[in-house]
Symmetry: C2
Subunit: 205 residues, 2 copies
């Protein structure tokens, strides 16, 4: 099966399965049923079995899944069994929170460069890095081998910075700016948007 043949929504659930399996493996749980995994993640056991069936046969009827084995398979499928350098654009309050977010490293993501267009921020320390000027963007992407960027800039700057990132060689963007990006189809963009998330929550209240 080609990577592009698996529905997006399935791919978005795999990290939740992986997190749950990792947690169970750390507690030495050896086997998990699709029911138990589903209850943790909030989907049905049938959905678990269907999602995983895109990638092979991981469990046996009535016996469930081997936790460590399925975890390793998912790590490999999601390609989190290697390190990913990431270029962060934007050294404001959000940028600082991201630099201090330790979960990145424990999942093999590390920030290899931080850039900002504010002369007052350029040169300042941020975590173990120093903020670099926007002119450094092509060099920062090239020298650190980053294929991923995180966009933590104001909405009005997002599209232009995203285009610069793509031109520099970035292939995936995690976009915190509240703005839909128009980029070539081969570029993968994930959006993090608390306002949109809140709004689709208040709908139900």
């Amino acid at each position: 099966m080609r990577r592009s043949d698996v529905p997006d929504v399935v791919i978005r659930r795999l990290p939740l399965y992986l997190r749950c399996l990792t947690y169970m493996a750390e507690r030495n749980q050896r086997v998990v049923s699709s029911q138990e995994l589903g209850a943790w993640v909030g989907v049905s056991s049938a959905q678990i079995r269907k999602d995983l069936s895109y990638f092979g046969e991981f469990g046996r009827q009535g016996l469930g899944y081997e936790v460590a084995y399925l975890r390793d398979q998912l790590r490999s499928i999601l390609q989190v069994d290697r390190e990913w350098p990431i270029v962060l654009v934007g050294a404001g309050a959000l940028g600082h929170a991201l630099v201090n977010y330790r979960a990145f490293e424990s999942w093999n993501y590390y920030l290899s460069a931080v850039l900002d267009n504010d002369p007052g921020k350029v040169g300042q320390p941020i975590g173990h890095l120093r903020v670099r000027p926007m002119d450094d963007l092509p060099a920062a992407v090239r020298d650190t081998g980053a294929e991923i960027a995180i966009l933590a800039v104001p909405a009005e700057a997002a599209q232009e910075v995203a285009e610069d990132l793509v031109e520099a060689g970035v292939r995936a963007i995690l976009n915190y700016a509240p703005m839909n990006l128009v980029l070539p189809p081969e570029i993968h963009v994930a959006y993090i948007d608390p306002i949109a998330s809140l709004q689709s929550t208040t709908y139900y209240l």
Copy 2:
């Protein structure tokens, strides 16, 4: 149509339509076609028409949608035409970034209280508020009328704090902790999880 009859995925797209329409209205654009709206948001024009048809007839064949009218309808549907106080739990780096995130106010969300269990943080100023101890949680929810909470605590604390929030009367939670919450079905939870978003992005690289 009852609110619960509209698919979740449709509700999650409405904020994107609203943002785009708001942007267009600010620039005095009077009419928008489903094609143009779709191109902005990244869905097909047929999807736009189908999504909106859950809520009524908003456009006329060949004439498109009136921007300001559709914006106001979506504001009403999503209930963002009123103010929503929000209790924030967690005054770490992420909590500070959220307090300083001005987009909340421009969309009628405002933080009415910030709480943390760290005695070193309690009493400290954060934006225009002061960090309150966790014991204040029931009072903070009650006194500020907050139906929404943002959870910016470590994963291992998330479930317990979420249960306390629900007991205090909160009905919707925006959860930044990398942990699936198990709560009564009438509680609406939205997840913001950069690791999961990154992992479903690196799948494609």
